[in-house]
Symmetry: C2
Subunit: 491 residues, 2 copies
């Protein structure tokens, strides 16, 4: 197979770009910063969507859809939100084109200027809370638990496929509650849904924690997050859940009548994950041969490749293969039998390795004689001969074993690259040279955090929500610290 990837050890960033392109996941489009998600990449995203959507519905949420446009004035209504979001964004100013004077093209019709410019949503708190004002009157209307699957636009200057693009796909949950406690509970519930999804579907271990004030969502009182470690030692924020207090309720005047008849502002949360998860999934598990996909998210879990020289051999193999396809599909697995005669088995092996199919079954004439097949697993690249009689059981085992093994491997990688550092020079050494997660004491001030970021390019990824209570001294200022926080350079 000619399509080789740059090895990770040589240039991690190029390896990633190569992989995204060569595995047919996504590509850049003619529009600066906007990607095309190709069918194979989109099929993985659909699996992610389906799993998350079910988790949202199982926790009582419904989907809805709000306009892509936000009137410019809406952004100014919540003071800190405008700071964070109304900067780099796509602005619609006109609503008509007309033929150009030379007759060769079209130009903007200056007569069709909007009275108020519209912003393409970078996130939808404002337009949604403007609607909620009419939906919420009484405590009986609460909680309101809504999610939206949508495209959003943030005019990023430096973009990378999946990780940072001007337009991306995401879901955004927006909930309204009668009490502060209930809203906080929702904020925690949803970050736990994300952590559960990351671990059990993406096979990706994550640290759950709280963002510092510097890193908080614009408009939130508290931002919870899940942070994953990529193979190059950088962190990737994979999902966030925000407790918004009454900020948006006040900005959009959303009050409700309590059971006791009082008028109170509503409490809010919002939470989201995006196609960025695709980047995390790729970087967490893949290797120099290509994608490694957890079986639960692989569009096709099993590929069967015939090994033959003569047409009669293919016919006999196909008869067997068709039976296997039928029986495995009957068990709920997704299976592809690739009997194309336009490509050699070697090409196919490399192709499906590149695409991350979790299991490959090869069948040759000798296998038919012996009543066996050859099974290769993508995660370890190990091969073994399996009797036909125990194939179903073997596949069942492999699906759960590969899912688990990928997770364990990523977990081990994270453990091996997690460091408890006690001095600033140790912290610098880790984040600047070795890479990985560095747990260090911090004095809790934004100044210290900013200084460290400036000097090392590392940020506090989160204040972890674990049980480790250990007081100490800030590695930077020497001032007292209540607990260690998680530092890393990040995507």
């Amino acid at each position: 197979m000619a399509k080789e990837l740059t090895p990770r050890s040589e240039n991690y960033s190029e390896w990633y770009n190569d992989l995204v392109i060569k595995a047919d996941l996504a590509e850049n489009s003619a529009v600066r910063g906007c990607m095309v998600i190709k069918p194979y990449g989109y099929a993985i995203w659909e699996k992610i969507q389906a799993a998350l959507d079910k988790m949202f519905k199982d926790t009582g949420h419904s989907n809805a859809y709000f306009p892509i446009f936000i009137p410019k004035s809406f952004f100014s209504k919540e003071a800190s939100h405008v700071e964070g979001f109304a900067k780099e964004c796509a602005i619609v100013t006109h609503y008509r084109l007309k033929a150009s004077l030379d007759g060769k093209g079209v130009v903007v019709d200056e007569d069709a200027k909007l009275e108020e410019e519209l912003i393409i949503r970078p996130t939808s708190e404002t337009i949604i809370w403007d609607s909620y004002r009419n939906w919420i009157h009484s405590y009986r209307d609460l909680p309101l638990l809504i999610n939206q699957w949508a495209n959003v636009v943030r005019w990023e200057m430096r973009t990378r496929l999946f990780l940072r693009t001007a337009e991306f796909l995401w879901q955004e949950g927006h909930t309204a509650h009668a009490t502060k406690e209930e809203a906080i509970e929702e904020t925690f519930k949803m970050i736990n849904v994300y952590a559960d999804f990351a671990r059990n579907w993406m096979a990706m271990p994550v640290i759950t924690g709280r963002k510092t004030e510097n890193e908080r969502f614009a408009g939130a009182l508290d931002t919870l997050c899940i942070e994953a470690l990529m193979q190059d030692g950088k962190a990737l924020q994979s999902g966030t859940s925000h407790f918004l207090g009454q900020n948006f309720a006040k900005a959009f005047d959303v009050k409700f009548t309590t059971k006791e008849g009082a008028q109170e502002y509503v409490w809010a949360t919002s939470w989201g994950v995006s196609t960025r998860l695709m980047g995390a999934l790729i970087m967490a598990h893949s290797d120099d041969n290509g994608l490694v996909l957890p079986p639960k998210l692989a569009p096709t879990q099993i590929v069967i490749v015939p090994i033959y020289k003569k047409e009669e051999e293919l016919a006999a193999i196909s008869e067997q293969a068709d039976k296997i396809v039928a029986s495995l599909r009957g068990k709920g697995y997704s299976v592809l039998y690739d009997k194309r005669d336009t490509h050699k088995p070697g090409w196919k092996f490399a192709h499906y390795e590149l695409k991350g199919f979790p299991v490959r079954i090869a069948i040759g004439p000798r296998d038919l004689e012996n009543g066996t097949v050859e099974i290769a697993r993508r995660d370890t690249l190990a091969k073994e001969i399996c009797p036909m009689t125990s194939l179903e059981k073997k596949i069942e085992f492999l699906m759960s074993d590969i899912q688990n093994n990928i997770y364990q491997k990523a977990l081990k990688f994270r453990k091996d690259n997690t460091h408890f550092v006690n001095t600033y020079s140790e912290l610098r050494h880790i984040v600047e040279e070795k890479g990985g997660f560095a747990y260090a004491h911090w004095d809790g001030t934004s100044e210290t955090e900013s200084k460290i970021k400036e000097e090392t390019k590392a940020t506090i990824r989160c204040i972890p929500m674990d049980d480790i209570v250990e007081k100490g001294k800030c590695v930077y200022s020497g001032k007292p610290s209540e607990r260690r926080v998680l530092f890393a350079r990040a995507y």
Copy 2:
């Protein structure tokens, strides 16, 4: 129930608006012409999406995602396309806001003007064919069968919820083929998928046909469509499938190497349905009491309402209801047991009628004694007593009978409102006074078609694809006609 609908007979248009709002399907947003699809409306749309998506995949299509932005110059590349689509559209001209001088808001940063304006996609042929150029090299890359679920924007001046909105949700299939014949076959295949979906899922009879040149998609050589008749006698175009010839391949220079080694332009189709289907679904079946939903698309198919006076009665009823819920859910039906004590049974009955739940089960103390329940069906409003022992069988029957009955009712309505007219005055009488479909002879010219449209506001909905071959004379010009075509006023 206080929420009454305007009767259809009084004001059909108001009835529709009332229903959309009061059944909580959608509402207008703060952005002119853009709707909010509320959770109940969106749940129906999700059912539509799921059924269609499966049909697309079963016919070999994959989903992908292309940018929402289209460079302005792309529109000029296909001459007739620009005529149709590059007019009323949302135009992004800037990519940054800044604080206003008075510090109170934000203004467009004039320094952040795009070199080339971006158009929010009104449809995606251009951006997609610009990508296809890099995807298609050889006949081996064909056919390329791709679909996209997306939002699109057309700056409509007069908007109505679901039927015509500035932003709407849709799917757009874009396929590429090696031969003209194969592309034409695809165009027909997909209009048949839509017709099948309309009939078997939406319970909506449709006429399949071909658009006249006047009504064709901008850039197509042939447009096929499905046309449904609404209860007010107006037609609603519910889906279209276009044979695009080599127009977009030529505009975007997409060639492939044939088996014989020649270079040829690729053949294209595109096809789409949108949230407009929600409008069709509502108007095809609903009545003065509210929505009537076919069981296959109802978010909740069955609601159970307890009728009681004392708490002990509710407890006994709930025990029975919980069993019914479990058994019906086990059979794959969606069931809601509404035991809220905040609303009376009468309110609940009216509420679920308004929302179009296909079946209502009421259980009172006497039912418990007798081992029965009361079943009401939404389509006929008929009630009957059903023994508990045969409830499952009854529900199974009702789900298919209601689905079928709604279809038959709509089919009968269409038959009763379809007229074969032989003179222009008859045609005018039907389309201007009676309403409904009018089959009339037409001379095949655009002039005649335009004249009739101008004088009667009726358009040729399609040249039907049926077997009726009957020559005659054009009702307008008296010139010879090969066959009757379908006239109606339309949404």
